[in-house]
């Protein structure tokens, strides 16, 4: 399945793009998506410990099982206010 990944804030600059699309097998988890993504974008991988992950508009953990149609967002710690 194809999963679109949206990058936010300076993650866009680290990756050189604001959106990537990853091909993942059925049953893949966010963990699997991140592993694949970081192979392609090692500068994002360096931020792994401070990366927040959402599917749609909700936060999800690394064990979340992805489904066709999911839109994943990755971003650094938030700084509103």
């Amino acid at each position: 399945m194809k999963i679109p990944v949206q990058l936010w804030s300076y993650f866009t600059e680290l990756a050189g793009t604001s959106q990537v699309e990853l091909e993942l097998p059925p049953g893949a988890k966010i963990d699997d998506l991140l592993t694949l993504l970081y192979q392609r974008h090692p500068r994002l991988g360096a931020m792994r410990n401070s990366t927040l992950v959402a599917v749609g508009v909700d936060y999800q953990g690394s064990s979340y099982v992805l489904q066709e149609g999911d839109e994943v967002s990755l971003f650094p710690p938030v700084q509103g206010g």
Partner: protein, 140 residues
């Protein structure tokens, strides 16, 4: 009675006096607390022109409403109005305005502090400094 909520995420300047003037009179509630977050002219020791705010707006709205839900469960708050400005904001201007109305003072203070703390933890809004000189700005 349900907590009244009003959320505005926009790149327009925040007119605090207008928001204050628009408050509905409610004689059952004794405490109104308003917080304005103002962009400061320094960041990490360096003088800056201001901050440029960006957001994943759909998610920010969702996360704010989840926070409002929890706020409503935890405190007897009758109204919350929150405005977050995005885009470039000059130092001295307001980036965040939030108002909480409650029966009593303690609830308003506790809920407002909690809301701002949680906002800074979960609402996808980011900022980057606007350098004083355009010559020092640049990507990367």
């Amino acid at each position: 009675m349900a907590m009244r909520r009003e959320l505005t995420i926009s790149d327009r300047p925040i007119d605090e006096a207008a928001w204050v003037a628009a408050r509905r009179n409610d004689s059952t509630q004794g405490a109104v607390l308003q917080f304005a977050g103002v962009v400061r002219d320094s960041e990490g020791g360096a003088t800056i022109l201001g901050l440029d705010y960006s957001s994943f707006v759909a998610m920010a709205e969702r996360q704010f409403h989840l926070l409002f839900d929890e706020m409503e469960r935890r405190w007897p708050i009758s109204s919350v109005r929150l405005v977050h400005r995005l885009g470039p904001i000059k130092a001295g201007e307001t980036s965040l305005w939030v108002e909480t109305v409650a029966g009593h003072r303690g609830e308003a203070f506790a809920a407002t502090q909690w809301l701002i703390d949680e906002m800074k933890r979960v609402v996808p809004i980011w900022k980057k400094p606007l350098p004083i000189s355009s010559e020092t700005s640049g990507s990367g």
